[in-house]
Symmetry: C2
Subunit: 485 residues, 2 copies
């Protein structure tokens, strides 16, 4: 390993670090274990930080990073722990946990923004907004896993079912305060939405997976709560029908709140999971949300959806504004991920999934091609279970394989083939979950050697000792680094 | 000057460069002079490139940059020449002019995007879309100066009156192919809107003012043409009335097409310029556009605007869907910049203006404070003419001073004070025109010394010899560089 990227994680080095700081910390095994866990991360590959720090202020984080930089100690930030490995301390060292920095600091209702700390959970943020006089009627629209916190959401540039309407974190983060590897602090952008003030440091930090700096404060965009909300589901003989409806909605100029698709297998798994009180038809299904500031506008959109579903031969269509039915139907969509996990027949079974996104017109080709690739790869008489669910409005599909642990290599190989299929369809290998360590090689196929070289150059400029979340997004040097996965 | 940033612009070096390349070029004085001109750039400060190249392909640009990198020759790209200095070859060297790379390459109607070359003018792009069967009903929404070309629009991260509705270039560029200083080529992003594939290289290039790479191809977002278009103007006793209407529109959840304000002086100058066939009341005025896919939706929005204008004591309100009246009213808004130039009483008079943006709620404070600053700075009995026009929906205001050349220092000092006022209101010193050389010092006040250090670090990683548009955005090294302005 290049001396540039050598870490000093000896017990003595870490104990000197701890004693040099007045920041609360823990080295208890259970705490360390709790930070070595993210959803679906197989136990055997877990790696533990040596110590967890709990900063309370930007200054705490600045002092902590300055010390770690000087002592060459790796640092990984931990928020809600919902990313698929992005927050794991794969190189050991320090975990920075943000539970003491979880406040909503300001609501600027007139400007449609708020200022928050990174440890704040997004659902809690929305609850606080509704409770506050200033925030009533506004919400923060990015909706990933319920446990996710703002800092991790920024790091991973996440999204969810609302991204089609309101954008991902890239569109919903106005600016951040970020602490660099050596402890320097920068506020990337002032509060106006629009700015041409030099290089776009905000977007550089959003999605950098904790490798360029730790965010200690963020200004987030807020939008008016949807009014006259309706939720609908339409079923189709083939998934193409649902996708065609989505394509026509795009061209209509109407802006819906959400457009999601699931294939028959995904609906089957939802039924089998019993996570929804309703039993759904096990056929390709389009879930959608319609809302708008006037009743008439919503009525117009409902009529358009009825016309489009009829034109594309929907086998059923339900649109409701009943609150409890809305909760049931959208709750079913939100339960899809958990339903997949419930398909494991043994606790050691694997849940492996893709996160590709393609131009929407190529969604049918991606889904059909994925089906063929999985069918060809499935071992005879195996108990593989495969399903597709996606953010159709964004061209983003999660194809999942639940299979016995011994089929790991086979399943991972087919996911890689799905990634390559997406690339051949002008797509990306990750629409919303990020690169982490697993997608590093296919990232290079996507942005090219030069693309990764640029990223590495930026990393080197901002974090010359490579202490921040080492090995995530790309290898620090070709073939160098603690690159197990 | 640090040897790192030494340029070899000797006649011999340039003639060796020219003879080593098979790319069309010109060294005729009139051509060089044409590239030394941007709007309002005073003649005495013009600096000329030594040679202009006309590449036809990405490969041409790659070979050209590789040679310039090896020979340490500065390179500045030139598109429509409408930025306020960003495209000037202030360090001499090579100008890359993109008129031979001005094609619309693909229209992906189903995905709402198109692929274009950098020399394409945006109005020509929209005309081509309307003429093409595939592009009918779609348009590219960013609307800066009519002469601007896509490459320059990307470099400067420009916007215009449609940005409130559709975003700036940051939101409307899906991805770019960019040639780095040493000739390496990278495609920053695939075609899906949504991606978490590593660092956001697209947003790094958009707004980097030609200092990190030259864009040779871009995928642009297209949106459905507005339907049922109405244009309105409302007048107010005080500008606050108009801004209050804008704030309420934001909160309503209704999305208008454009929300623009002008003060009484700006309306006066429009009248005096005779650029509009209509004579306007010389009082604060709100210009707005309303459109939507259904007539009823637009009728709802018109009613809301009537209510809001009455509530905030508009002194007049006109809303029209008559095509010729729309052209007249919006044409008047679009003529504001030219109208200001027409206020020059002598050809040597200066037209100096700000480009600050603040959170919308602070727009009245910015405009009132600007008025006070200019009043205090205006020399007694002088013929300064000052006016404000702004993209109210984005909190972006251009405050202009037309004054005799001898008042240059005074006027520039007051613009700097306006920038500082914007910063104190949590604003930015440039909402859409970029930093160039004039705003470098206030940029450092905005993003801090660390912010500029990060930008400089990125520049060094991507362009280690500093050949690309040297000295724009920030000085290459503190106190170093050909920094006249």
């Amino acid at each position: 390993m290049s001396p540039k990227y050598t870490y000093n994680h000896s017990p003595q080095s870490l104990s000197l670090l701890i004693s040099s700081l007045c920041i609360p910390h823990s080295t208890s095994p259970s705490t360390l274990a709790s930070k070595a866990h993210t959803p679906h991360s197989p136990a055997e590959s877990r790696e533990y930080p040596a110590v967890v720090f709990y900063p309370s202020t930007t200054q705490d984080v600045s002092i902590l990073l300055k010390e770690c930089h000087e002592r060459r100690i790796a640092v990984t930030a931990y928020g809600g722990g919902t990313s698929f490995g992005g927050a794991l301390s794969n190189s050991g060292g320090v975990c920075v946990s943000f539970e003491r920095m979880a406040q909503l600091l300001h609501i600027n209702a007139d400007d449609g923004d708020c200022v928050v700390q990174p440890g704040l959970n997004w659902m809690h943020l929305n609850a606080l907004l509704q409770k506050s006089e200033k925030g009533t009627g506004l919400f923060f629209p990015v909706d990933p896993s319920p446990q996710a916190s703002v800092g991790g959401m920024i790091a991973m540039s996440c999204s969810g079912t609302n991204a089609y309407r309101y954008g991902t974190m890239r569109e919903c983060v106005v600016g951040v305060t970020v602490v660099l590897a050596d402890g320097r602090v920068v506020k990337t952008k002032q509060r106006p939405r629009k700015s041409s003030a030099g290089y776009d440091l905000t977007h550089l930090i959003v999605g950098s997976e904790g490798t360029l700096g730790l965010v200690t404060e963020a200004t987030l965009r807020l939008v008016p709560l949807p009014r006259n909300l309706h939720v609908g589901i339409a079923t189709f003989g083939a998934l193409e029908g649902g996708v065609d409806v989505v394509l026509e909605v795009q061209k209509s100029g109407h802006v819906f709140e959400a457009l999601e698709v699931a294939d028959g297998k995904q609906m089957e798994c939802l039924n089998r999971s019993k996570l929804s009180p309703v039993n759904f038809t096990e056929t390709p299904t389009l879930f959608f949300k319609i809302a708008g500031p006037s009743k008439q506008m919503v009525a117009d959109q409902i009529n358009i959806m009825k016309t489009l579903c009829a034109r594309h031969k929907a086998t059923s269509l339900e649109i409701t504004d009943d609150e409890s039915r809305i909760a049931t139907l959208w709750g079913a969509r939100k339960a899809m991920g958990t339903a997949l996990v419930a398909m494991k027949q043994s606790p050691t079974d694997l849940f492996i999934h893709s996160d590709c996104a393609v131009p929407i017109s190529k969604l049918p080709a991606l889904i059909a091609g994925t089906h063929d690739l999985i069918t060809a790869a499935t071992p005879p008489n195996s108990r593989w279970f495969c399903a597709n669910v996606g953010h159709a409005g964004d061209g983003n599909v999660h194809s999942s394989i639940i299979c016995p642990a011994e089929d790991k290599e086979l399943a991972e190989a087919v996911i890689k083939r799905i990634c390559r299929l997406a690339l051949s369809l002008e797509g990306t290998v990750t629409g919303e979950h990020g690169v982490g360590m697993k997608l590093r090689d296919v990232l290079e196929e996507e942005v090219g050697k030069t693309g990764v070289e640029i990223m590495r150059g930026i990393k080197e400029a901002l974090d010359p000792r490579g202490i921040l979340n080492p090995g995530k997004v790309f290898r620090l040097e070709n073939g160098v680094g603690k690159a197990k996965l």
